[in-house]
Amino acid sequence: MQETISFTPQLTAGAITKILWLIPAVPIVASGLIALMKQPRRKTAAALSIGSLGFSLLLALAAFGHVVAGWTHAQAVRETVNFTWLQFGATNVDLGWVLDPLSAVMLVMVTFVGLIIFIYSTGYMAHDENFTRFFCFLSLFAGAMLGVVIANSLLLLFMCWELVGLTSYLLIGFWYQKPAAAAAAKKAFLTTRVGDVFFLLGIVWLFAQTGTLLFYNNGTGSMEAGALTTLLAQPAALGLTAASAIGLLIFAGAAGKSGQFPLHVWLPDAMEGPTPVSALIHAATMVAAGVYLVARVYPLMHAGALAGGTTTALTVVTWVGAFTAVFAALIAVAQNDIKRILAYSTVSQLGYMMAGLGMGGVAVGMFHLITHAFFKALLFLGAGSVIHGCHDEQDIRKMGGLRADMPLTFVTYAAGMLALCGFPLVFSGFWSKDGILEAAQHWSVAKTPFYMLVFGALLTAFYMTRQVGYVFFGHWRGHKPAHESPAVMTIPLAILAFFAIVLGFIGTPAWPWFHAFLEGRAAGFHTLLEPELMTVMAVSSVVVLLGLWLGLRLYGGPAPKPEDPDVLQAAAPLPWAWLRDRLYVDEFYNVTAIAFYAWWARVADWLDRRVWGGVVSGVAWTFRQWAHLNRFIDMRWVDGSFDKSCEEFNVGGGLLARVQNGRVQTYLRILAFAVVALAAILFWSSRP
């Protein structure tokens, strides 16, 4: 349960906060520079990308150090820099950035994992002809994501959020020559857009209610007490407070980005992109943006909770998260594409994070996010290494026995897999998942999410063992023999594997440093020997071991030929088919939403052609007739009268011209008559 967090009142922002904007700006500038370069300059492009992100990493570490240094036992650092971006009338739209434990942790995670993936990409993409374009997009993506992290304004966050969406589109569709990749990119873009529409509504509503989009602004920000009180007093429909309603709208945006049911459909398809992209975007950072957003607006969602209680918004977050966790884990069991399994596992783990946020607060969810980012990046990069080694084969049934061929990849992959399963005590995933389970057990509303998450943990252990069994055990079932990847790919794997193991120790129940850091408490040592804690740990361990055992039992032996049906498929063909076909969510959308849109498009087309087209041609016809009338009036009346007067002038001119005939004597004659006439007039008029 979240306790009230106290943060140091900000007097002046520290030097590091003032230059915090450089962290996203440098990669974005690097991306621009790469975009201006000619295509073949691969080394420069890679160096620019990696150098800029390395610089961001150093800055992020400095910022992190600053936050840790300012953290005392009762207070945490929160420094903001705000400025007015738009001013209309008396209303200001402010933007700004914030440095607090939440953003500091995310900054370090994103820059570090990003940097490792960048380095790995130089090996993975070495033979791609669009190498520089790839690094241009990667840098832009990293910059946008860092912008999301440091944003202190919902609007700035939304801008960077959309930029992340755009780069994700560009990177998923990087191999746009493949129709599947192009379709997947479009699908990702449109599906996340569905959530973003709600997100934007939430932003507008929040702005209308509080007049500010800043999160923190010395007491007047929208996440601070004053604004929250206003929002709580404001009832919305269905018995919700405005705070909860806005929170739910924002959560819809987060659900789109983080692949929560029912908007998860784009994430597995996004595996059409290059594997480093899958690792960077669809495992480590971008999908984490949704979880991060919920953590960022957590005060809004949590506002109005009774003591130890929860709010409608958080309850919805919890249920959606728990359902997604189980749902995606079920589907992952029956997939055969190595990356697709990982994709569904990502969806499932994001569900865990959401559920953790909903039940346990920011620290619980964020801890799983951080550990997951490391081990899922590791797994994806490992999968990339496997695909690379197996000559672009992605079907796990056509692999096998890679333990001997790719030892380094195998060891690191196993570390990632055990971390994901949550193997007891040693691996980071155990501790972060344990935190979520513990929160679920204490949740006051219902116990069901706890059982769902435990079942999800069992499935996770099972499907990961199945995958590893297929890929690394048994004997080789492919055509060409596999080979180990170069060092530029395996060294990042080793680094990530190291963190996949040790990262758990900063957040164990015995020494919850991470939670204390995020919540501004003192980090003390606790005993693990509390009965409740022990129960949860025991349940979690047993479930994981059971999953591993089941997996090994079924898939640990010499695996069958690629053509043979799966063991489970032989046992239960019908449920297997459902799961293999991803529980028909895509098909459901095809016959509902997409069919509706297709129908609506046809209706709109018909309306356009017949109704609006008819109106338009009717108007056009009316004007044409009017024009005809005008022409008639012009020609008959206006022109006619003009012509007539012209004719009169013409005739008059002709008459006068007859006098002016050029005969000198005629003029003289007229002159003589005139003189005589003049003389006569003078003569007669002078007589009295």
């Binding site: 000198v664 004597q665 004659r669």
Partner: protein, 103 residues
């Protein structure tokens, strides 16, 4: 001494003869001669009005007439020059044939 009316009658006769010549003749030179006659009728009038006027000793009328004769001479020179040019160009001195501005 002949009264003023005699001079005026002669001048009017002379003017009428000149006008009739100028109006009836086709030949440009004869028209010019007619105009000269009319001019000289006017000169005769000037002299007569001077001589019978209130200040016959002041020589004003004579000066008028001399100027008028000088102008008429210049006019006759210009007119004859034009006629010669026209004759060279159009091979005629018939005024009715010369009703165009263009050559």
């Amino acid at each position: 001494m002949t009264p003023l009316a005699g001079y005026l009658l002669v001048a009017a006769l002379l003017f009428s003869i000149g006008l009739a010549g100028a109006l009836t003749r086709r030949n440009a030179i004869l028209v010019l001669i007619g105009i000269e006659l009319m001019l000289n009728a006017a000169n005769l009038n000037l002299i007569a009005f001077w001589r019978y006027g209130p200040h016959p000793e002041a020589l004003t009328g004579m000066m008028f007439a001399i100027f008028s004769i000088a102008v008429a001479a210049a006019e006759a020179a210009v007119g004859l020059g034009l006629v010669i040019q026209i004759h060279r160009h159009a091979h005629t001195t018939d005024l009715d044939a010369m009703n165009r501005m263009k050559g």
